[in-house]
Symmetry: C4
Subunit: 230 residues, 4 copies
């Protein structure tokens, strides 16, 4: 079942690895079939070398395995919260990429210091609150998902396609697994540029809302004029 | 038409990508046929993988498409301002490369800290002023071009073959698309070295004008003795 | 003899090189056959290009060569101390990887700043004391091993699978040479993230013991639920 | 003539490029035949892609071309000073590698912060004085060579196989072109580690002379026990 989605999800996982964002087994991507209500996700702890579509695991939105012989990613429950709560998204990716994870470890959101950032995120890349001791003792991966959802309250996930989980690393999303993985690449780039920008100009501030919106809307929404007409 | 120029422009775009300066679709190179008054440029939002000369778009100096089925780069109007105003140049490149963009985001020109810089730029790599709110509301890409031209007033574009657009990233130029792309590679290198130099010597100052000119003129102009006789 | 172990040790050495942790001849990995009491290790000063299992050297736990025409790694005596004193380990790796060596040169242990670290190390990556002048004059490589063992006193090597030798670089271990090499890769990643974290948040502190243990125990021990059931 | 030496020099130049130390045409390696008194060196401004032994230029110690259709590297006169004054060396390499050049631009010698450094340099990597205005007006490349020789006075070039030219970049040497190129790789590594070390421990000092000598002499000289017996 869902052969095409499995191929897409496998390709997105491989893209994370090829881009250097996920070494060893440190990352996972998934996608949802909204009609079926099924999510396809990477199996847990399986290396990227040799990863193939048949290894992808199909789960329902409650986390029950629908198909697959392998255990789903240990982060699957986080993905599922995002699919349940952010209804416009079609794919999710998670990595421990160096620069984005360092911002996460610093428990800082990434300010919008330039147009590269604004082309893809219409504002800072947010960071979640720390989980409480009670949440850590609870259903941990679900709690992470809920911390993300709380931090995204009032924010359009189409305008802010990713977040940093405090002390952990980035989660990104998009219309598809491919786009979610691409947003992981983008978060890593802007995380790196932002760190360098602060080194070069310790008192740097974010760009104006006008410049930010000019760039974001050049690429997104009804007035976009970047790229080719579909 | 302009088959050779299309091949050169395509190759220059691929060179930006191969050098790691332009990921996803973040960069573009162009070249001008001064006799025809036509500019060949990368299409907008098309990935580098599989990019081929036939996809290049031909526009006139007013931005009218002369040939090509794809939309020209969204930065085409900036390129055109440069071709109109900097009459000695034959190629333009634009990237969001990490280090040069970080200097741009810091809104700082890159001081000439060493001979690697001076071999290619006879002075700092300038940074433009920020666009005004009015300019941002206007013909944005043209305004960027004009901000570049203002910052280049009184400077020989053959001696300073590139600039940083504030909060954005580098534009470079040269006699050809190939040389423009090479200058993008060079700006990234000297941007990186300059950031490291400041880390190692926070009070570092630029090299002397004499050392700078010695190096620049060793490679450029009538007295150059670097490289092979043409 | 020990053909399979030689192949594993050779592969682990090549993995260090492939991961960019060991250039030129700067690194070595070994493994022990606990039944025989023999250790297989890389030969000294032999480049990774073309390294093959037949070149591996077999020594006993006192350092006597049991098989092999080449001299064992100059660090062999350090490996042997670790095998004698840390009885649970099956493989050892040593590199001069950039970030981990820089922490070692700074004579600092790596604080546990995030979950990437906690997934693999249940606490800081320790750093040894400096060797005394007397130790430096003595059996140097044995003294390094003993400094590591002293720093590991009261620490489970399964929970802290590596250490930094002050002013020198990382040694890591694991159940096998492959796992030891993997821990070298991990130490380099977390060393890099930790340096960046301090740049972004100079007053950053380690994550809570609860979050650290949650992550470590998600991957290790009886309650682990990461990865596939064996 | 000197076919073998040309092949070695070509290979050393390609090694600089393959190691990422020399992009575009930014680097050169040479070697000397002491019996003939001839030096083989890279031609000026020729890219590394496709570089072949036949393109190497043969010059005598006064800089006269003995064989070759191409102009010798513009840095040839610097190499020749080194061959004349440092009689024990057989090869020279020069690059604009990122980290070593940044230390050069900071006009700082690289302190010996760890054993990776001490394994190859028995003390700091020195930096030359700045050239005087008069020297800059004179025979520039010869003046650079003489500045290097002055900075090396009283230092054994076998113990300190390279130097930073202030505001410029590294020159390294060795018994052969291959070894000179290898020392360029090493200088870049230790330059990078040293910069990171200072970031992690701003008050870091060099390692003790005893530890430094222990490591240097483990690899070099009569008592060396690293590597295989020749």
């Amino acid at each position: 079942m869902l052969e095409e989605l499995k191929a897409q999800v496998c390709a997105a996982n491989l893209a994370l690895h090829a881009a250097g964002l996920a070494i060893l087994t440190w990352g996972n991507a998934s996608s949802i079939d909204r009609d079926e209500g099924f999510v396809v996700i990477k199996p847990s702890g399986v290396p990227y070398e040799g990863l193939c579509p048949e290894q992808m695991v199909v789960v329902d939105l409650d986390g029950n395995v629908v198909e697959g012989n392998l255990r789903a990613s240990s982060d699957a429950l986080t993905h599922l919260v995002l699919y349940r709560e952010l209804e416009s998204i079609g794919g999710v990716a998670h990595t421990h990429s160096i620069y984005a994870s360092s911002w996460a470890q610093a428990c800082r959101s990434i300010p919008c210091y330039g147009t590269t950032h604004a082309d893809h995120f219409r504002g800072p890349v947010p960071v979640t609150e720390q989980l409480t001791p009670t949440a850590l003792e609870g259903d941990y991966e679900v709690e992470i998902g809920e911390a993300i959802v709380r931090a995204m309250q009032g924010i359009d996930p189409g305008e802010i396609p990713g977040i940093l989980v405090a002390s952990h690393g980035p989660f990104t999303w998009g219309e598809s697994a491919e786009q979610a993985a691409q947003h992981s690449i983008i978060v890593e780039q802007i995380a790196r540029m932002a760190a360098l920008t602060e080194g070069l100009a310790p008192t740097a501030g974010p760009i104006s809302g006008q410049l930010r919106d000019k760039h974001f809307l050049r690429k997104h929404g009804a007035e976009a004029y970047y790229g080719q007409m579909q």
